[in-house]
């Protein structure tokens, strides 16, 4: 038996999502950009339905939804799109602010913008993984154009105080981009209520397909398109819309919303069992201690063991990771920001529970870690 406990890396596609996509691959194959014949209109209607589904679940309106190929594209579009539009409008604000613990899909485009006239400030995080609001406020000076903050961290699962952050941004006249790749479908998000200007998400993080995501953009916000060409999506993102994936994304978010509370309750209980079991082994520390976090996340550092050997042993029975899948084993900048050494970061385990997680898997996880720790210490 192998327990898949890596749902932050990706989630299996919900069978209901696969079924919802099915008719759109071939039977209704028309290109929704064509307005002149019926199947194309039906495809366009399906796209609009999916827009409405996303908007409803996320507390916004349908016209805010731009479909992208995933969260990486959505983040790139948000950050570069805002900067280019600001430049074109002669906006004097140039500084971009974010947190040291962001995903590379935010940090990399920020670094790119940093080389192109948009200075970047990265605010540190506290030992619990959360940003200090006073420190953040101090960073939001008059020259700040945009703040990018992830709703839930992909490694340690901590939830940044979005409402307070959004309020700060409003006070300071700063645009707020939220990377919700790990949060959408897992915690309630109310875009309009919170006053979020831009929000990115990715289908495969909430039981949807890979290759599709979205950026939700507050109406009226100036955003320069990054993919131009066919005029699709009101010129905000060109490219033939992948109708099956769009339909799948809408269905996935609806499905995730439908069982969100029940799932969070159940997985939170399992996660707590897991933590109790691991804590009892001794020499195991929680990362993101005390902070509000995703119910399905647990991240621990195992003291006194070699990380490479630890993960080699775990891998036989557990699908877990030491950090972001994208980093492919290089040391985690998030754990480093919490003050963990390279060795400690390598000997850390990220657990991401999911719909399929069971008592038996949690028991297996505790036993497997226990056995590995016994062998290595």
């Amino acid at each position: 038996m192998l327990a898949y406990l890596d749902h932050h890396a990706t989630t299996p596609c919900d069978p209901a999502v696969v079924a919802a996509m099915a008719p759109w691959w071939s039977e209704h194959c028309a290109n929704p950009a064509n307005r002149l014949y019926r199947p194309a209109l039906e495809a366009a209607a399906a796209v609009e339905r999916a827009r409405g589904q996303l908007a409803r679940v996320l507390g916004s309106s349908a016209e805010t939804v731009i479909f992208t190929s995933g969260a990486t594209e959505a983040n790139n579009l948000a950050l570069k799109g805002v900067c280019e539009a600001a430049l074109a409008a002669g906006n004097l604000r140039r500084r971009l602010v974010s947190l040291v613990s962001e995903h590379r899909a935010v940090l990399d485009p920020l670094a790119y913008l940093g080389r192109h006239g948009f200075p970047v400030s990265l605010v540190p995080i506290q030992p619990d993984g959360l940003v200090d609001l006073a420190q953040l406020e101090a960073a939001l000076g008059d020259d700040v154009l945009l703040l990018s903050v992830m709703a839930a961290n992909n490694e340690i699962g901590v939830l940044q105080p979005l409402a307070a952050i959004a309020a700060l941004c409003r006070q300071r006249g700063v645009l707020l981009h939220v990377d919700a790749a790990q949060a959408a479908g897992h915690i309630p998000l109310a875009i309009d209520e919170l006053g979020i200007d831009l929000l990115s998400l990715s289908g495969h993080k909430f039981y949807g397909p890979k290759g599709i995501g979205a950026l939700l953009v507050r109406p009226g916000l100036q955003l320069a398109a990054q993919l131009h060409g066919g005029g699709q999506q009101d010129g905000r993102r060109a490219g033939t819309l992948p109708v099956p994936l769009v339909v799948g994304l809408g269905q996935a978010l609806l499905g995730a919303e439908a069982d969100r509370e029940e799932r969070a309750g159940r997985l939170g209980t399992l996660r707590d069992q897991l933590w109790e079991g691991l804590r009892d082994l001794g020499g195991i520390e929680l990362n993101g201690d005390g902070a509000p976090r995703l119910a399905h996340n647990l991240n621990v550092t195992v003291q006194g063991v070699d990380g490479t050997r630890l993960h080699r042993l775990l891998r036989q029975r557990l699908a877990v990771s030491s950090g972001s899948a994208c980093s492919q084993g290089s040391p985690s900048h998030v754990l480093a920001a919490l003050g963990r050494s390279r060795q400690q970061a390598a000997a850390s385990i990220r657990f991401g529970l999911g719909r399929g997680s069971s008592d038996a898997e949690i028991t297996l996880a505790i036993e497997t870690v226990a056995a590995a720790v016994r062998e290595l210490r």
Partner: protein
């Protein structure tokens, strides 16, 4: 449209494969298998991740083999538009701003990427095409001098079907030390491509034009050439394109290319259709005649009344739609905009002629009887168009 009916055109009456194609059953099967066995994140180091990575690698190998390129020359994208942007913007980022040369019949995606480069200090020069949509080779050759650093040419034109002499163009670009990007979105799956034998630096394609899934495409990048990622973050695709790889979609793409390689050319079927269309009053061909200079599955027509006054291509498409037939009056991407096709204008047609285009693109499922039905439907639609006074002022 005001038409209330519930008929959805069956595949047999779908003649718009240049816009998009239905995903093939075998492709769906390949995707379902990948969905079941390779759903994990291919960057993950655990067993499910490794399985996904292996499936991803198998798809890459299959695509590379089908396209005659090296594995590391293949960059997966979300489709043709992204591939074109990545090629032009990504290549230009490593060059001193200079001149980009494009043909007068490029897809809007290329025009848009070119406009982006203009904002970054590049100049863009357009090479005219002849009445058939074929590029003025001498004009191009004359432009292959400094400050030209980049050329982008659409290999198979989506509206008028013209195939540019890519090898000759590439050879000239090579000699001049100028990089060449080829938009092969319409060619992929219809003509064999062996990238390593072509004097091309960048080649873009999209799966959904060859019965693969929408949402995935590719850019081939000649080994050793610098390409700056346009989507930063995650380091996938050798640092050239961030984002979790869509393993399932790529499995479908690989299968679609494999199928297309085993499918006989649609040229004979297309060739049997053309003379019958040309017997209809007021119908003439635009773009090159069938042969080496035309996409094998593609026909483009100009329609007029018997008196020779151009008819609205869009209205004709609507008429045909009422009869259950799916065709296009030009490119799907521009069908929401103005009536006159910029591509037909570039071929030298008048404003009203340029609004009278009709595109017929075939799929491997079409049989002779389907063509009979199409000819009949077109005949009726033409009559209806004339009767309902869709005449354009010349």
């Amino acid at each position: 449209m005001g038409h209330s009916g519930s008929e959805v055109p069956a595949l047999a009456s779908y003649f718009d494969t240049s816009a998009t194609t239905p995903t093939a059953t075998e492709v769906l099967e390949a995707m379902a298998l990948a969905q079941a066995t390779a759903w994990a994140n291919p960057s993950s180091l655990h067993a499910p991740g490794l399985e996904a990575a292996e499936q991803l690698e198998r798809s890459r190998l299959s695509l590379a083999e089908g396209l005659g390129c090296e594995l590391d020359e293949l960059v997966v994208t979300s489709g043709g538009t992204e591939a074109i942007h990545l090629a032009l913007l990504g290549a230009a980022a490593g060059l001193t701003p200079g001149r980009l040369v494009i043909s007068a019949v490029e897809h809007p995606a290329t025009l848009a990427a070119a406009a982006q480069l203009e904002q970054r200090g590049w100049s863009v020069q357009t090479v005219p095409v002849d009445r058939q949509g074929l590029l003025d080779f001498d004009a191009l050759a004359g432009l292959l001098v400094p400050p030209t650093r980049l050329v982008s040419v659409i290999w198979g034109q989506n509206e008028v079907g013209s195939l540019q002499p890519i090898e000759a163009i590439g050879a000239r670009c090579r000699r001049a030390g100028v990089l060449l990007h080829v938009d092969a979105v319409q060619v992929l799956g219809h003509l064999p491509i062996t990238f390593r034998q072509l004097p091309i630096d960048f080649l873009s394609g999209a799966a959904h034009k060859l019965q693969g899934p929408r949402g995935v495409g590719l850019l081939l990048v000649r080994r050793g050439l610098a390409l700056q990622a346009q989507l930063g973050g995650g380091g996938q695709e050798g640092g050239r394109r961030g984002g979790t790889e869509p393993v399932v979609l790529l499995s479908g793409f690989a299968k679609a290319l494999e199928l297309s390689c085993a499918t006989p050319s649609l040229a004979p079927l297309r060739d049997s259709l053309l003379p019958r269309l040309l017997t209809l009053p007021g119908v003439r061909l635009s773009g090159p005649p069938p042969g080496d200079s035309r996409l094998p599955h593609h026909l483009s027509l100009l329609v007029a009344s018997e008196a020779g006054l151009p008819l609205s291509g869009r209205n004709l498409v609507r008429e045909l739609s009422r009869q259950g037939f799916a065709l296009s009056s030009g490119s799907a991407c521009s069908s929401s905009g103005s009536a006159a096709s910029p591509v037909l204008r570039a071929l030298g047609y008048s404003e009203s002629d340029a609004a009278s285009g009709l595109r017929i693109s075939l799929g491997p499922w079409h049989r002779a009887a389907d063509l009979d039905a199409l000819v009949q439907a077109l005949q009726m639609a033409l009559a209806a168009s004339v009767a309902s006074d869709h005449l354009l002022t010349a």
